[in-house]
Structures are given as structure tokens and as C-alpha cells.
């Protein structure tokens, strides 16, 4: 395990009754790198995500997050909102979870809740319209405007999020997660349902997030072309266990991975992997 890993998961196990969804999984996500978690359907990828982001309490194992400052946080000891608030881990969802009845801008404002809550003096300063609150609010709007511009939705800032096209909603969800100023961004299938052009735009967005914001990214993805193109490190899971790990190139050529993905029909597997590059 590299010493400069932002997240190191050690022997994570998650049981639901008799079913073992994640079995003794260990991996690390490096700082300012894009780590992909791949595997066939039902391999336990989303369960790992839910453990990391506090939606599930892991049955056993540890998850250590190390901030740039060197501060270490054991994620398994925090729960739900504290993971995002204190550990600075943000996530998106496989089925988009925007606030559909709020505008794109409002969605990004809600994401800055904790910072704005302090700025509004726990509401009291905001209620009397204190100047410090007003300037904090304007800064938050500028931050939201910046992100809307980056995802190309500045023109639609005042439209309801639920009215946006699917691809825009995906990007807005990523922007919303980034507005919480995370150290680690977890993306659950960000390219699902996107066309070729949209996934190219997504790759670009993720590259720029890594380059400009110093955020580390952990993503689950099915779209192999996206995985091969953008990830620095790939972890492959099957039946709750890690079956391979390495650079996209290494993983792509691993016979175990090919077998897991496409079963016995190796010829087809190779064809899919080839098309991925």
C-alpha cells in the first residue's frame, strides 16, 4: 500500500444476514489520482461505496482517510452526514439524486450548507441581514456560478434540476458534490446512460477536477472506455472480493478479469476489452 494514499481500505467486510456482499477487501486510493472500482453486476461495488460514505456500517474492517494536512480519520467511526461534513468525502448516486424541484443554482447552494450555516450565524445573523452574511452568500453564489460554467450549465442556472437533460443532471450532481469542497470524490457510475460525446465531456471534467482542485477521485464504472481512458489505478471486484489490481493496461490483460467479466466466452471478452481502448 502506497504511503501517499488518501483512502486505505483494510479488510473491509459487509454482511447482510447470511449474504457476504463484500469479503475481506483491501485497497488504497492514491492522492490526486483517479481510482476505478470495476466488476460485474452484483460484485459489491456500490456496497463498498455505501460503507465508505457512511450509508452502511461495515461489519468489520477499517477505512482510513488521510487529509492533505496529514490528519487521519477512521471513516468506519463516523456516520451519515459527518462523513461529508468532517471527513470531506462527497459522493454521487447511481440513480441520480438531485433536488428535482429546486433550480440548478439552488442545488449547488444547498451543497454549501455547512459553510453557509456558519456564515449566517446559525441563521440569526442571516435573519437580520448582517453584511457578513450577505458577502458570504454572494461568495457562495459565485462559487456555484463557477461550477455551473465549468459544466456548461450557466445558461440553465435558473431551471429546475428535474427539467434538465439526463447528461446535464449527471454533471450537475458531480458539481454539487464538488461544491462541498471534498478531499475525496466518490462517483457511482458517472457515465451510465451517457452517449459518447457526453462521456468524453465527463472525462474532461474529471481530469480538470483532479488537476485544478487537487481532489482525489474514486469511481465505480461499467463503461470500460471511460475507465481505460481516465483511471490511474483500477481495482477489480467479483463476488465481493478483489480479483485484480493495477494500471488499466495490466487489468485489461488479466485473464481472471476477462473471465469474471464475460464468463467462459473469452473471445468475446477480448473483443470488448479491445474496443475499450
Amino acid at each position: 500500500m502506497s504511503s501517499d494514499s488518501i483512502l486505505s481500505v483494510d479488510r473491509l467486510t459487509m454482511r447482510f444476514g447470511g449474504i457476504i456482499a463484500v469479503n475481506d477487501l483491501s485497497f488504497a486510493a492514491e492522492r490526486r489520482k483517479i481510482t476505478a472500482l470495476i466488476g460485474p453486476n452484483g460484485a459489491g461495488k456500490t456496497t463498498v461505496f455505501n460503507c465508505i460514505t457512511g450509508f452502511y456500517r461495515a461489519s468489520s474492517g477499517t477505512m482510513r482517510l488521510t487529509h492533505d494536512s496529514g490528519k487521519q480519520i477512521q471513516l468506519e467511526r463516523l456516520n451519515d452526514f459527518r462523513i461529508s461534513k468532517q471527513a470531506k468525502v462527497a459522493r454521487t448516486f447511481q440513480n441520480i439524486r438531485l433536488f428535482p424541484g429546486m433550480t440548478a443554482l439552488e442545488n449547488l447552494m444547498v451543497a454549501q450548507h455547512n459553510a453557509l450555516m456558519l456564515a449566517s450565524g446559525l441563521t440569526f445573523l442571516g435573519l437580520i441581514g448582517a453584511p457578513s452574511w450577505r458577502s458570504a452568500e454572494n461568495r457562495a453564489i459565485d462559487q456555484a456560478r463557477l461550477w455551473l460554467d465549468r459544466i456548461g450549465l450557466l445558461e440553465r442556472a435558473d431551471d429546475a434540476a428535474g427539467n434538465l437533460p439526463y447528461g446535464d443532471q449527471r454533471r450537475l450532481e458531480i458539481a454539487r458534490a464538488m461544491c462541498t469542497e471534498p478531499a475525496l470524490l466518490c462517483l457511482d457510475e458517472p457515465a451510465a446512460g451517457l452517449n459518447t460525446r457526453e462521456s468524453a465531456a465527463l472525462s474532461e471534467l474529471l481530469f480538470s477536477i483532479r488537476a485544478d482542485h487537487g481532489a482525489s477521485i474514486l469511481l465505480i464504472e461499467h463503461d470500460m472506455s471511460v475507465v481505460m481512458q481516465i483511471s490511474d489505478h483500477v481495482v477489480v471486484m467479483d463476488y465481493g472480493m478483489k480479483i485484480a489490481e493495477g494500471s488499466p493496461q495490466d487489468v485489461r490483460d488479466d485473464p481472471k478479469v476477462i473471465a469474471a467479466y464475460l464468463g467462459a466466452d473469452e473471445q468475446e471478452a477480448i473483443a470488448v476489452m479491445e474496443s475499450g481502448t
Binding site: R91, P100, T103, L105, H113, A157
Partner: protein, 441 residues
């Protein structure tokens, strides 16, 4: 379905006419089948116990015709004002005109309300009705924070109204504290009870939350009835002091307001004072709610209504967010309760039954969840409209229920169904109610 060009519009309206006709015909057929036995044939036990029956085909035909005509009428009205998915038959120019008129409603309503005591000075009945309507407007605005913004279904709102009323009544009669000191105390006490209710129900959602809040409302009422030594039980608390204008009582005596201003005393002065008092309290509720919506806490409430899981993923503490919603709503309920106590001069548990909770909730739902103007209009319709039908005696409830059903058919998301954004970059577009969630709890 919608057709921009004139010719297809005509064609589609022809098609619509056929569709409406067919739909009404089906309704009439169903009515015929049902009513032929229920109304068409009347049976009774004869004098010797045998079955006597006779037919009433005239009445049957009348009923079926009524259903046929009625369903055509309802379908036409639905197309006039119906939900977004239905084709509008109203031309665009009329729609923009209506939109402009809609924007003027709120200021006009406010100006009219301020002028009510001037216009109807010598009509005590109208002033009393105005005070009643404004009380419910305030209660509606208070509950709107919990139900409309945070999406938490609260069936026991009357509990906070009761806490506010008894707080003022007991503090004023036992310790002689003035209304203006008791008012904030009543609000704080009600907010405390809101937090106390909030804690156990935090994990509950939807129906379960509704049941627990309903029980909470009943518990408060039962405690008031049974704690005789403190609350006087079913006899209530009487002799509650009237409010004063910052220490100056509105009485006929030498130190009364009338004597100090050098005008002749009239009992109407107190009514007018109460009217402006509740108007001020209601407007305060409105102002605070509007401000809160634009603050992070208000946005968090609305986000909670939209998607609680996403809120947690963004680091929002859903526990405190829910508790603040309960506490804020309860505080306004407490203010309204204190006002109620000082206006009545006498309170008893009978004033705080579940029916009150249901009425306030109906106002919020009818008004369009989350809309301040909608709630005010709904309170006016519910309380004022109910009084309007007083002349109909025993049919009053029937007519009123019918009006409610019609309203819910046309506007299933309430009178004002759309949501106004709290912040915007260029233009503030109203958000269609189809996108706004009602909340899960």
C-alpha cells in the same frame, strides 16, 4: 396533444369534443347502472309486511342527465385550469393576462386587509370573521414551515396552539405577566414542545410520522383535561387579561386608551386593535418564513423534502434540520395560541381538538404546499367560505365538501401549485408542481 398552429388546434379541439363526449357518456352509463337499482326502484315494507315497490324512472333520468352534464362541465373546467399535462384550451394572451393578475393578488390582498377595519368599522361580525381568518392564516403559515417546506406531515399541530394558549393564560392569571412578555414566552415554550415532539419522531417517515404527531396532539389535550390543579381541567381557564397597547388598557376608564387620546370610548376599539395585532403577528410569521427560505436553513428544509438521502450525502445534519423545522412551526403556533387566549378571555380543552389540526392542515394542502399566498387564499376560502354558506343551514357542509372536491380536481397540488426559487442568477422562473416533491414524512 398541444398544437401551436391554428388549424391543428381546431382539429384537436374537435377531437377533444368527441373525447369529452365519450368520457361523459361512459360516466352516464355507470351512473345509470348504479342508480337504476338505488333510485329507479324504491322498495318498502307494506302494511301487512309484504314487499311493496314502485319505480321512479323520472328521477333516475334526471340523475343520469345530471351526471352526463356534470362530467362535461368538469372536463371543460379541467381543461381551463387543470394540471400541466392537460391541453389548455385557454388562449395564450388570456393566460399571460391571468399571470399578470396573479402577481397583483398578494399586494392587493394585503392593502385590502389593512383597510378592512376602516371599511367595516361598524360591522362587528365582519371584523370578528377577519380576526378568525387571520388567526388561521397565521396557523397555516406556521404549519407551512413543517409540512410545506420540510415535507414533514404533522397532524398534531393544534398541540402547539394549545401550549401557546395555556402558557399565556396560566402565566397571565397566576403571575400577572403582561401579554407582551408572555407572547415570546409562549412561543419559546411551544418551540420547546416542538423539539420534544421532534426527538422521538425523527426516524419516522410518512404514515408513521403522521400517526405519532396525531397522538401527540391528543396527549396534550388529554393532559390539559386531566391536570385539573394546573389547567382547571375541562372547565378551562377564565378571566384571561385582555391585551394592552404597551401598558395602556383599552377600557372605558380614565386611564384607558380612549380617555388618553381624548376620544369617546367604543368597544370596537379593542376589536380593531386585536385585528391589527393578529395581522402584525401573521405578517411577522410571513416575513420570517420568507427570510428563512432564503437562508441555508430554509434551503436545507426544502432539500430535505426533495431528497433526504442526498441531504445526508452533502453533509447536512438531517436531525437538527428536522428539529428546527418542528421548533419554528411550533413557535408560530404558540404565538397564535397566545393571541387566541387573549382574544377569547377564556380557553378550554374543547378549543384544541383534532378537528383544528385537520382544518389547518387542509388549509396548507389546499393552498399549495410551501406557497405563502396560497395558504392565505386557502384560509380565506376555508374559513370565510364556510361562513358564506351559513344561510344554507344543513346543506352547508355538503356544499363546502363539494367545493373542496372540485378544487382538488382542478388543482391537485393546491391553489398555488408552483414553487418560486429562493435564489437566481438571471430570471426567477416558477417551478412546476410536477417536479416539486411532497416529502416522505
Amino acid at each position: 396533444m398541444s398544437a401551436p398552429a391554428p388549424e391543428p388546434a381546431a382539429a384537436s379541439s374537435g377531437l377533444n369534443a368527441a373525447y369529452i363526449f365519450k368520457k361523459s357518456l361512459i360516466s352516464a352509463l355507470v351512473a345509470l347502472v348504479l342508480f337504476s337499482l338505488m333510485i329507479g326502484i324504491r322498495t318498502e315494507a307494506g302494511p301487512t309486511g309484504q314487499l311493496v315497490y314502485w319505480t321512479r324512472f323520472g328521477d333516475l333520468a334526471l340523475m343520469v342527465a345530471g351526471v352526463f352534464g356534470g362530467s362535461i362541465l368538469i372536463e371543460l373546467l379541467r381543461r381551463w385550469w387543470g394540471p400541466v399535462t392537460v391541453t389548455r384550451v385557454v388562449p395564450a394572451s388570456v393566460q399571460t393576462g391571468l399571470a399578470l393578475a396573479r402577481r397583483a393578488i398578494a399586494p392587493l390582498l394585503l392593502i385590502f386587509t389593512v383597510l378592512v377595519p376602516v371599511i367595516f368599522y361598524d360591522q362587528r361580525y365582519i371584523l370578528d370573521l377577519g380576526i378568525l381568518v387571520l388567526t388561521y392564516v397565521m396557523l397555516g403559515w406556521g404549519l407551512n414551515v413543517v409540512v410545506g417546506l420540510a415535507g414533514l406531515l404533522d397532524l398534531g399541530y393544534v398541540a402547539f396552539y394549545a401550549v401557546g394558549a395555556y402558557s399565556y393564560a396560566l402565566l397571565a392569571t397566576n403571575f400577572g405577566l403582561s401579554f407582551w412578555i408572555c407572547l415570546p414566552l409562549a412561543g419559546i415554550l411551544a418551540a420547546l414542545w416542538g423539539v420534544m415532539l421532534g426527538f422521538p419522531v425523527l426516524r419516522l417517515r410518512g404514515d408513521y410520522l403522521a400517526i405519532v404527531t396525531l397522538a401527540f396532539g391528543e396527549i396534550i389535550r388529554l393532559v390539559i383535561i386531566n391536570w385539573q390543579s394546573l389547567t382547571g381541567g375541562p372547565n378551562g381557564v377564565s378571566g384571561i387579561p385582555r391585551p394592552t397597547l404597551f401598558g395602556i388598557p383599552l377600557t372605558p376608564g380614565d386611564n384607558g386608551l380612549a380617555a388618553k387620546l381624548g376620544i369617546e370610548f367604543s368597544p370596537t376599539h379593542r376589536i380593531v386593535f386585536l385585528f391589527y395585532l393578529i395581522l402584525g403577528l401573521a405578517l411577522l410569521t410571513n416575513w420570517v418564513t420568507i427570510r428563512l427560505r432564503r437562508l441555508p436553513i430554509g434551503r436545507a428544509w426544502e432539500a430535505l423534502r426533495e431528497d433526504e438521502v442526498a441531504c445526508r450525502a452533502l453533509g447536512i445534519n438531517t436531525t437538527t434540520t428536522k428539529l428546527t423545522a418542528f421548533a419554528t412551526g411550533a413557535m408560530f403556533g404558540g404565538f397564535a395560541g397566545a393571541f387566541f387566549a387573549t382574544r377569547q378571555g377564556f380557553i378550554s380543552p374543547e378549543s384544541f381538538t383534532f378537528q383544528e389540526s385537520a382544518l389547518v392542515l387542509a388549509i396548507v394542502v389546499l393552498g399549495g404546499m410551501g406557497s405563502q399566498l396560497g395558504v392565505a387564499l386557502a384560509a380565506l376560502t376555508m374559513i370565510g367560505g364556510f361562513e358564506l354558506f351559513r344561510g344554507l343551514d344543513q346543506y352547508r357542509m355538503l356544499v363546502f365538501g363539494f367545493a373542496m372536491v372540485l378544487l382538488m380536481i382542478w388543482r391537485p397540488r393546491g391553489l398555488i401549485g408552483h414553487r418560486a426559487p429562493t435564489v437566481f442568477l438571471k430570471h426567477s422562473h416558477a417551478i412546476s408542481s410536477d417536479l416539486v416533491k411532497e416529502g416522505h414524512g
